[in-house]
Symmetry: C2
Subunit: 230 residues, 2 copies
DNA sequence: TAATGCGTCATTGTATACAACGCAACCCGT
DNA sequence: ACGGGTTGCGTTGTATACAATGACGCATTA
């Protein structure tokens, strides 16, 4: 799910600093996302400390944060396990996303200003350019654009906590991006959704924007169940 | 806000253990909720360690958790400040609650079973008994009942993540429970909301339940702005 | 006098040593 | 052979010592 309804990587600065704890956080997080450790794997603090080049103290802090992110499961006196995702988890997560992101779209409709609409439109152009290139779709170029699109919507909506919640929910199943893939049809539909959302915002129609966004997310959910058609 | 739309204290076991970090967590949390430290106050790790009777290590862990809860604001190299709540914060938080809890009510409507409805009804009875006593309302007796009511709804809905999100959102402004108070009219309305939600669940009408819950939360928000009428 | 640079101190961040806990293997008794 | 207790080891939890960072005050200078 390198595309829209599935991506939305957190771009906030949590862990952007140069503290040892932040380095450990980034390192472990990247490792999990790259499936360096399979779901269910037990992470030992000492080992992580050596790998990261810091002591156990910042590693412990990183583990707590990753647990809060939902990437790990922490059991007292037993340590950290890489989280494994069930069907029910996916349903719950995408259900939450549908609720929250459609809310964002609705809010954004009543607050979007011309420059916002212009940037959203430009992002659509850029994404369509990548998809329409003819050859194999370069997901690594779509993902940041898509993240920016959804992030910008959150900014426009102007509800910090709502945005924070969404980022938290999206963070959880980030691992799965590697596995699932959008077919070309899925991608085309996603692009259309984006366009339609911008249109709805231009028309200042919150219900419209909200509905399309809900569809957008639920379509994203379906990619995990329905086989890739292409 | 000892009542329904404002309470819903987290009853999960986060911090229930006997580890030093958990004791520190509980201690500091209680202190903040009891206004032992005013909003904006700078909490020093050493001082907290001495007060709690543990070392700085578990105190640091507790501070990180409290920051994730939203009770503290953490700045790298500068430490922790007790969070101060603005009008915008309240609007955002109650907005989220309205969205999430109404979702829960809707889900619960399609999943509630007779024994659930019975327990919800019993909780309504108990709360009304406390309120209708005639004398001054004993908030300390309403709060746990109300928490149980909302918590049971979450259980019935059967969406763990949704419940987790709600608990997280409710946790944030928990400090304010001390300040705001429901008038007798507000309380009466709250009780009516509860009853109506149970009715909607009995009728298996998710839209109905969801709407009442949304009203319930927004009425709770208003208590913070409109002066107590009594 | 006001602005700037430096030094000191309080406070946070990190490393390391030690304690407590849990699991597993083993021994012993029945 | 099987069950219960026990010991040993690996891992997590906690305390403490040390390093690094930022804030405040003072002195120096234009």
């Amino acid at each position: 799910m390198a595309d829209s309804a599935g991506a939305l990587a957190p771009q906030w600065d949590s862990g952007g600093s140069n503290r040892a704890a932040d380095r450990a956080y980034r390192f472990i997080r990247e490792g999990i996302l790259a499936s360096r450790w399979p779901p269910g794997a037990h992470l030992r603090e000492q080992e992580l400390a050596e790998l990261t080049g810091v002591s156990r103290t910042p590693v412990r802090e990183a583990l707590r944060r990753l647990s809060a992110d939902g990437l790990l499961q922490l059991v007292p006196n037993l340590g950290a396990k890489v989280n494994a995702w069930t069907i029910q988890d996916l349903d719950e997560i995408f259900g939450l996303r549908a609720t929250l992101e459609s809310q964002v779209a609705g809010l954004a409709a009543s607050r979007a200003e011309p420059q916002h609409l212009a940037e959203l439109g430009a992002l659509c152009d850029a994404m369509e350019a990548v998809v329409g290139d003819g050859g194999a779709v370069d997901f690594s170029r779509i993902t940041p654009l898509n993240d920016r699109f959804h992030g910008l919507l959150i900014d426009i909506a102007g509800d910090r906590r709502l945005g924070q919640m969404i980022r938290q929910v999206v963070e959880m199943p980030l691992v799965l991006r590697t596995f699932a893939r959008y077919s070309r049809r899925d991608l085309a539909r996603s692009m259309n959704h984006h366009r339609e959302i911008v249109e709805a915002l231009t028309a200042r129609d919150g219900e419209w924007a909200s509905s399309v966004m809900r569809a957008h997310v639920r379509a994203g959910r379906a990619v995990f169940t329905v086989p890739k058609t292409e």
